[in-house]
Point group: C2
Chain length 263, copies 2
DNA sequence: TCTTGATACTTTAGGCTGTAAAGTGATGGT
DNA sequence: ACCATCACTTTACAGCCTAAAGTATCAAGA
């Protein structure tokens, strides 16, 4: 059974999120701190970037900093809060300037691209789903950036929020496909081609009536212009990016129409 | 370091996914099986539905069936495969019939609604992100349903796939917000109102310059017509549903425009 | 200068997890 | 009657998070 943070822990979390990131050196008795919250968060992010969220343990973070796992508890209340900090600090990386001089649409496209890049650099972001919003500066920063760019559509702000939410979800969903494919390739050491080849052989054998049961899927597969990844970009990753761009354009077309309608 | 399934395990997984769900009673020496893969999967789904993915352990599933954890390994290779089965069987629940008689748009809306309901009934679906597609009958069923409904737009199938992907992502993203809010309320025992109240007081205290740093967010909060949940539906859940519906309409507007454009 | 108390960090320990390996006991075919 | 087979349990182990206790280091007060 998971134990949840009480009132006091909530305060502690918020202080870590919003407090000063460079702490004044301690005065008074006792040894000086050898670490800092920010150093711990940075180390944790490095691990998650390089080896995935599954490899992120307190031991691993401690080891990377030359300490034991328990040493971290001097700085951070627990793993949950550490992950919240990783999440919020990483969101804070999103570039904030998207010139509206060539219109809101191109600004929105650029912003969506930044979001995509951010998630591809830190794919574990997608596995971190705080049960409730973290309410840290990074999360506010992302919301502010999205809202302010899309407010340039001239739509009323509550509707802009819906657009923001749809855009955000399209980005996250499609980048997830790209990131997972990349991670699977790295971790299994099996290329997409090998994986597909083995799987489709198995499918053929175990479900020979596949194209009768799922005709549209089969038709799509048959029409598939698979063109064995002529470029560097792996097939699934490319597919994910294309579907991201296409879905985004559709959404923005809808937004444009909404603008026209309301006059 | 995570160890990944080799070739043989892939076969075993696919057999479990595609094989007959009612196994013929064994002949030959030895005791008769007291459980079945389907019973185990059903028990696991029950646990995940009721207590969340974090509460799903092999011990818990075994206990629910009156066995030890290890008994399950007679039927299922490991927890990974069990989760894949849960995922695929649950996707198979999606209703498949969406009459196109009143047009593709209303069919698409109904289908999106079904997807939303399915995810709200089984919120753990969102936490299960198989590194690569499971390729089970349930997954195919969902793809087939989505593709066949949206193929009625008349767009070329590859473009339909992009629409499907965007629609799916909008549903998943917004239902995630709803599900997480619901889960947090259940697990913490703290209502949304209490949570917000405590948090906003803390924010005010720790980040007094909030509305200067994030003016658009602040403006949205100020214009907020929070109307303290007059209905039964909690605020965040209602917000999530509204944003789902609005985002979906925008996307479908974009699709309609694409149809017109291509003539 | 010696003592005191605060504090960074380590050690130990406990309860949880998934699952490998070995043991148990019932069953049906020979 | 024997025996191979197979469902299931027991035991064990490595890993996880983290509570609690112990240790070493430092600054200030007596």
């Amino acid at each position: 059974m998971v134990v949840f943070a009480g009132q006091g822990d909530a305060r502690r979390s918020m202080e870590l999120l919003w407090g000063p990131r460079v702490v004044a050196p301690r005065t008074g008795p006792g040894p000086k701190p050898g670490l800092s919250v920010e150093a711990i968060v940075a180390a944790a992010i490095d691990i998650a970037d390089a080896e995935g969220m599954a490899a992120l343990s307190m031991r691993a973070v401690g080891e990377r900093l030359g300490r034991t796992a328990m040493a971290l508890y001097t700085y951070v209340p627990g793993k949950t809060e550490l992950v919240d900090l990783m999440y919020d600090r990483t969101l804070g990386e999103l570039p904030s300037s998207y010139p509206l001089s060539s219109g809101w649409r191109s600004a929105a496209l650029a912003l969506a691209g930044s979001l995509w890049d951010l998630h591809l650099r830190h794919p574990w972001l997608l596995q971190v789903s705080p049960a409730r919003p973290v309410l840290g500066p990074g999360e506010f920063h992302v919301q502010e950036t999205l809202l302010s760019v899309l407010a340039a559509t001239g739509l009323p702000l509550p509707r802009v929020r819906w657009v923001v939410s749809a855009l955000f979800n399209i980005v996250r969903g499609s980048v997830q496909a790209a990131a997972e494919s990349r991670q699977a390739t790295r971790e299994t050491g099996q290329s997409e081609e090998d994986w597909w080849y083995a799987r489709s052989a198995l499918l053929e054998e175990l479900a020979p009536d596949l194209s009768a049961r799922f005709p549209t899927v089969a038709r799509l597969g048959a029409e598939g212009e698979y063109e064995a990844s002529s470029s560097e970009e792996p097939y699934l990753e490319r597919e994910a990016r294309l579907s991201f761009e296409a879905g985004l354009e559709l959404l923005l077309d809808g937004v444009e129409q909404a603008i026209v309608r309301q006059g």
